[in-house]
Every structure is written in structure tokens, then in C-alpha cells.
Assembly symmetry: C2
Homo-oligomer: 243 residues x 2
């Protein structure tokens, strides 16, 4: 069982992921936000890789049942009902709704990996559940970090390292790690014990705090508080039903 | 003084490096090999990003004074006089010669950064000298790891971390680190104390050893044994004359 980590979606062509088992991580904030939405009863999340496509999908949807969510430069997009703050995705706002989500990094990473056989979304909030599911699935894993506008970001990598460590606790020596997987584990071990601090001091965290999102950062630093497994299939993300 | 690390040349467009101060690292083996060549009296190294271009440059060169060097899949290329093993670049082989170098990762990374104002080549062999020069130059620095066929490799990142630590010893708090720079330092601290082991156990090192290059791996693990500063200018790499 081999585990590989991609520090950014720019590296790989979308065909690379064909028939693979992929986990997309965007700690700040897209995969955390999808978890919040599904946790609060959203019917589904439809990730898109352009604002134009978000608009197009939205026009074809039933009014009132579909919300547009997302951000550009951390801020809500004009004409969208929701930004990319997990705190906005409350029960009142999202219960029973379909959400079309566009974000700078996360939604694009999910769309990039769309040809995966299994495509799960992970953040610190559900890292233990994702590890348990994958340990049971027992296939090679590609972890795709959304990164920050095409390059490395430390918080996604630490979350990847945490996922691998959880997997290692379950699978032991069966796990084969690539260079990038080893690096992720080392970064989590060296740096991941105070997540609130890491998420506040990393480049993306600092940008969010400057823009008034300190509470989001705190929310995203919660570890293994949800059992949800958001799974992408035929264009939409829904919670995976575990048999 | 800001330091940024690129884990692979795939991330960035060549125009990104325009007028910047860039350090290219390819521990296994291109930048180590260039150091060996210049140390043993090669007149210059001409890095190229395709075998075809290597052939073209070679045809226009004076016979006997120019050697073709490089590899594909770790092995010497047919018709080339030298491979990419630093041990081949002995005094007898290279003294006074111009070497046209094509390698899978390193020579391409150098060419990618060709618009830099200052472009230095670094490996463990000259890491202290590069740090001393850059500390004195006092400009923002882009460290470009050659990586392995477009993705992350741990040995270049550890070398980047070592370079940053040496810089920090000289500049202290003046140094501003991006997420990728912080990660490089952590990886060096956690992993870099036994370089022989790291270089033998990383993905690229294992491939080299399988292909008979254990001695190369040992050679590349030497730290700060040369004062040379290979500098790229107008298409060729020569030792920088320090005033």
C-alpha cells in the first residue's frame, strides 16, 4: 500500500488520477467548508473550477434550492450567497440545499482529480475517519494538497502527514512512503502539535487573519471532530454511506 | 531578506525568475557534477534543456575542446563522451574543456532560471560558500530545487534547508522565510544529520544505487568541501570570481 503526496495540483495532469484512490486536502478552507456544509445538512456540494461555470450550473438549477458559494482573494464573490467561511455554512443557511462551490485552490483541486475511482475530501476535522476508511480499502493512495495558488502550503502538507500517521497506526509496515509522504510526516511531527499556532502563522493563515477570518482559522484547527467522508462522484460531493 | 524555495521547476514560468537572485540545487547529481567539473579545471559548463540542442551546440564547437555530458534515466546518452557521474569529470577528462550538459532534471532547472540577475549552482559540496556569498549580496533569494521528473525530491529540499540555516547563522532575524523555506529547514533538522543515509534511502538515491552509482551517492553527500561558486551567465556556467 503506497502513499504519495502532491504538494500542489499544478504538478499533475488530470488524467494522472484516472482510476486512482485520491484524497484532496484544503485545510484553509475549502475541504473544511465542505465538511461544515454536509455536517449541517447540505444535500450536496458541486465543486467547479471557474466562476463562469458556477454561474452556468446555477442558471440551470431550481431557484431557492441551490446556493452559490466561494471566494476570490479570500472574499465572497459578487452575486454569490455564501463565501468560503465554514462558519457561514450553518444549518439555517444550507440544510437541504445544493451548493455550487468555487474557490481559488480547493474546488479546482477536486475537479482536477475528478477521474479518480475513489475521491475523498479531507481536512483536520475528519482526518481519523478518512484514515480508517482508506486502511480498510487497502489501495494505493494519492494525497492531493490544494496548496496556495499553485505552490506549496505548509498546513495542507501537515494534514497529509497526519493522515499518513493515522494510516500507519492502522497498517504498520505495510505502508510504503514516497519522498513527499516522508516529508509530510516529518513536518507534522515537527510542527503539528500546536495547530492553532501553525494555522495562524502560515502564509495563508496570516492572509485570512488580515482579512478578518481568525475564527475560521480556529475552526479549521479542530482535529477529528467529524465522522463524515465527503466523496466526489459524477460531479457532486456527498457523504459516503459506509456499509 | 526573503527566502523562498521551489520544490520543482514545473511550478514556475521562466519569466518568474527575471532579474531575481536564484540558486539551483540538484544534489543527485547535476549541480554536484558541475562543481566536480569546474573544480577539475573545466573551462565552462553549458547546460541545455534538450538532447537535440546539446547536439546542435556541439556541432558548432571546435572539435576536441568540447565534450558532451549527461544522462537519460541515470545512464550516459549514446554518442556522449561523459555521463552525469561527478566521478567521471576528472582532471584528465575535463581540464580546459567546455562541457555541454544535458540531464533529466538539473540542466533543465538551470535553463528555466536563465533570466535571473544572479544564478548560482549549489549542492552540499559548496553550500557554505553559497550562503556566505548570498549573505553578503543581501537580496531576496529564490531557491529552485531540480526535483525528480517534475516532482518533489527530499535530498534537494534538505540541501535548500541547509543553505537557509547557513544563511540564518550569518543574517539572523533579518531572514524572512516562506512556508516552503520553513519546511525545508525542518526537513534538514529532522533528517539531514546522516546525509549518506538520506541520499541512499531517498527515491532518486535508490534508483542510482540500483544502477551501480553507490560511489556517486557517497560523493554527493560531502558537505562544504569546495569554495566554488558556479555562476550562470550568457548561457554558460563558470566559477564566479569573488572580488
Amino acid at each position: 500500500m503506497k502513499v504519495n503526496v502532491h504538494f500542489s495540483p499544478l504538478h499533475s495532469d488530470e488524467l494522472y488520477f484516472t482510476a486512482k484512490t485520491t484524497v484532496v486536502i484544503d485545510v484553509l478552507r475549502a475541504t473544511t467548508t465542505v465538511l461544515a456544509a454536509l455536517h449541517n445538512g447540505a444535500k450536496e456540494v458541486i465543486p467547479v473550477n471557474s466562476v463562469e461555470f458556477a454561474m452556468k450550473v446555477s442558471v440551470n438549477s431550481f431557484g431557492g434550492q441551490t446556493l452559490l458559494g466561494g471566494e476570490r482573494n479570500t472574499k465572497k464573490i459578487e452575486g454569490f450567497q455564501l463565501g468560503n467561511s465554514p462558519l457561514e455554512y450553518s444549518k439555517e443557511a444550507v440544510s437541504g440545499k445544493s451548493i455550487i462551490l468555487f474557490t481559488t485552490n480547493g474546488s479546482k483541486a477536486i475537479v482536477k482529480a475528478k477521474f479518480s475511482e475513489t475521491l475523498l475530501l479531507c481536512s483536520f476535522l475528519n482526518v481519523k475517519s478518512v484514515a480508517a476508511y482508506l486502511a480498510n480499502l487497502n489501495k494505493d493512495i494519492e494525497i492531493l494538497c490544494a496548496g496556495k495558488t499553485g505552490s506549496f502550503c505548509i498546513e495542507d502538507t501537515i494534514c497529509a502527514g497526519r493522515l499518513i500517521t493515522e494510516l500507519k497506526n492502522l497498517k504498520g509496515e505495510e505502508l510504503e512512503l514516497t519522498d513527499s509522504s516522508k516529508a509530510s510526516v516529518i513536518l507534522d511531527n515537527a510542527y503539528g502539535n500546536d495547530l492553532q499556532k501553525v494555522l495562524s502563522e502560515c502564509e495563508h493563515g496570516k492572509l485570512l487573519i488580515e482579512n478578518g477570518f481568525q475564527e475560521d482559522v480556529n475552526y479549521c484547527a479542530q482535529v477529528s471532530v467529524m465522522d463524515l467522508l465527503p466523496s466526489f462522484n459524477n460531479g457532486t460531493v456527498k457523504p459516503l454511506k459506509i456499509p
